[in-house]
């Protein structure tokens, strides 16, 4: 098992685009983590002359917005919010989906029927409209965003996990574990979970990408945390000057695009690394 894992890791590291995504992501994470060091103070505070273009004053390499706020500081601090919401929301969504999918697949019968209906309900409601309603009702803040994005993204994971658990439920080693008298929770965590881990990791990295996209769309619409700068809210306020200072919209959007791209590239690389035969067939 661990031999195939290290092989998968080696295949992943040999994949140049995936590695590029990983390196870019590490850089973004480092920037976000060190933001309070290099850009102390409130990124929403006014710093300099308004509407400096990028490169006009090297103190403000990415320029300033209509209120004289440093765009570079905003990008770096905004990354903290975007990554935090993206990663925590996916973690929450994956755990919720894992619990519900595993219960449905493992127990079957009536529990499975009920949970499947629940999954279907959430997959039928247009998820972004539901997300807007949830955030608007719960009042926007970083914890609410994490909770709401998690709530709308678990069904994908639950369906995947349910299918995988069903396919391995009747295998001999599970039956053996059951006959020894292990509890259901222990069997699910120790015997079933390791087998579906690759699928979960791939899904999680793609989920982070879509969570970052959803967070940015929400805060662009004014449904982000009002006390924190995020890439989406920067686009939302920069949009007012789109005719004269389009860089205010372009720069944070590029940050979102590159971050989402990095997570997607990593997800693709992981898929290929875990399923080398399928990857060969695709090429």
């Amino acid at each position: 098992m661990s031999a195939s894992r290290s092989q998968a890791l080696r295949r992943f590291l040999r994949n140049r685009t995936a590695l590029g995504g990983l390196i870019f992501l590490i850089a973004i994470v480092l920037l976000a983590l060190t933001a309070p060091l290099f850009y102390p103070g409130d990124p929403l505070g006014m710093e300099a002359d308004a509407l400096l273009w990028p490169g006009q004053d090297w103190h403000y390499p990415l320029g300033t917005d209509a209120l004289g706020r440093d765009v570079m500081a905003g990008v770096v601090h905004g990354g903290r919010v975007s990554l935090q919401v993206g990663i925590l929301a996916s973690l929450f969504g994956v755990s919720l989906g894992l619990a519900i999918g595993a219960a449905a697949g493992y127990f079957g019968g009536r529990i499975d029927y009920l949970l499947q209906r629940l999954i279907e309900i959430f997959q039928t409601m247009p998820s972004f409209v539901l997300l807007v309603a949830l955030v608007a009702i719960a009042q926007p803040s970083v914890p609410t965003l994490i909770f709401a994005i998690g709530i709308i993204s678990w069904p994908t994971v639950a369906r995947l996990v349910r299918a995988e658990v069903r396919s391995i439920r009747e295998r001999e080693y599970i039956l053996a574990a059951r006959s020894v008298g292990y509890t259901h929770v222990r069997i699910i965590l120790r015997e079933v979970l390791p087998n579906i881990l690759p699928t979960l990791i791939v899904t999680a990295s793609i989920m982070v990408a879509s969570a970052v996209l959803m967070e940015s769309a929400l805060s662009f619409m004014g449904l982000g945390d009002p006390n924190q700068v995020s890439w989406g809210s920067m686009i939302g306020s920069g949009r007012e000057q789109i005719r004269t200072a389009w860089y205010l919209t372009a720069i944070p959007g590029l940050a979102i695009f590159l971050t989402v791209l990095a997570f997607n590239l990593i997800g693709d690389g992981l898929t290929d690394a875990f399923n080398p035969t399928q990857a060969q067939g695709r090429k």
């Binding site: 039928t124 409601m125 409209v129 807007v132 608007a136 009042q139 789109i242 389009w246 997607n264």
Partner: protein, 329 residues
């Protein structure tokens, strides 16, 4: 007659299967309405500007807000059965009227985006499959990866910068030239000009999805025995690609296009706020800003119903297209 019967049977089974989902969606909507801060009486009192404790209580009993939760749920369902989604004091109009006024714009935007993404996506996917492994495939793969990662609302804004601000070719927003009384073709062309940028921004991510899907299913279908037989018969590569490979590769794409309806609706919400198109999404945005939860949840309910209807239509379409699906049920 026989096909009519099987269609009727398929429709009946689908409806029966949809019932629990419908009920669940109604319950969730009711729950969210209960959770929303402030009730209808608060909103009306706020709009009128003056309210006493007594008048608030009178309003509450008028709307049944002082009843127990089960009674309120019954009233809610009863109202829905009569197509009554509530009243928006802000717009001074019933919610169902507000939604039906704006539904057309959103559906037009979605259908245009769907059409555009299917045509471009399938074309790109065919090119990728045709040259798979060589440079056109690689370049287009990178493009589709980019399209897949770009936030739709941001690309919309960038398109505005290029095509409206810099080049001045297309309008920045709205649904049509104000005050113009165009008829026939000029009117259609005018609204197409206003829809071009929003539909392209909405379509981008789906172009990427359909291109990848077409590529994968064309490669799969191309490896089937009947394709080799067709080649052995001496059919030209064009005939093989279009008549044998593409036709079989299209089935999974119709399934996905049906599934994407809900996602596209969500995308339309953001795109409409970018281009100030007077559709459902713009209405949702205004409702959020005005804290008008009746309107917001009405939109959620109607759009969920639209997704259910689309799913039923796609099911029936597939039962018609593929005899194997019909017999499996």
């Amino acid at each position: 007659m026989k096909t009519l019967l099987t269609f009727g049977g398929a429709l009946w089974r689908t409806l029966l299967h949809t019932l629990p989902t419908m009920l669940g969606i109604l319950l969730i909507n009711f729950l969210l309405l209960q959770l929303a801060p402030g009730d209808a009486a608060d909103v009306m009192a706020g709009e009128s500007g003056s309210a006493t404790q007594e008048s608030l209580a009178a309003l509450r009993s008028q709307f049944g807000l002082d009843q127990t939760i089960p009674v309120q749920l019954w009233t809610y369902l009863n109202n829905l059965a009569h197509f009554n989604l509530g009243y928006s004091p802000r717009y001074g109009s019933s919610v169902e009227a507000l939604i039906s006024q704006r539904l057309g714009t959103t559906l037009t935007l979605m259908l245009l985006a769907l059409f555009f993404s299917l045509v471009v996506g399938i074309a790109l996917g065919m090119m990728m499959a045709n040259w798979h492994g060589r440079w056109p495939d690689r370049v287009l793969s990178v493009c589709s990866q980019f399209f897949y990662s770009v936030p739709g609302f941001w690309i919309g804004l960038m398109l505005i910068v290029v095509f409206s601000v810099k080049l001045g070719w297309l309008p920045t927003g709205g649904a049509g030239t104000i005050g113009s009384d165009l008829q026939g073709w000029p009117a259609l062309l005018d609204s197409l000009r206003y829809m071009a940028l929003p539909a392209s921004s909405l379509a981008l991510i789906y172009i990427a999805i359909y291109a990848r899907l077409t590529r994968a299913s064309m490669l799969e279908a191309g490896a089937q025995d009947y394709v080799r037989t067709a080649a052995a018969k001496g059919l030209s590569p064009w005939v093989i690609t279009f008549k044998h490979v593409l036709r079989n590769a299209l089935l999974p794409i119709t399934t996905m296009a049906g599934l994407h309806f809900g996602g596209m609706l969500g995308g339309a919400v953001v795109i409409e706020t970018v281009f100030s198109l007077p559709g459902l999404g713009r209405l949702a945005y205004d409702a959020v800003m005005a804290r008008d939860y009746n309107v917001l949840l009405g939109i959620l309910l109607i759009s969920s119903l639209l997704v259910i209807i689309t799913n039923i239509l796609v099911d029936l379409l597939q039962a018609g297209l593929d005899p194997r699906i019909r017999s499996r049920r």
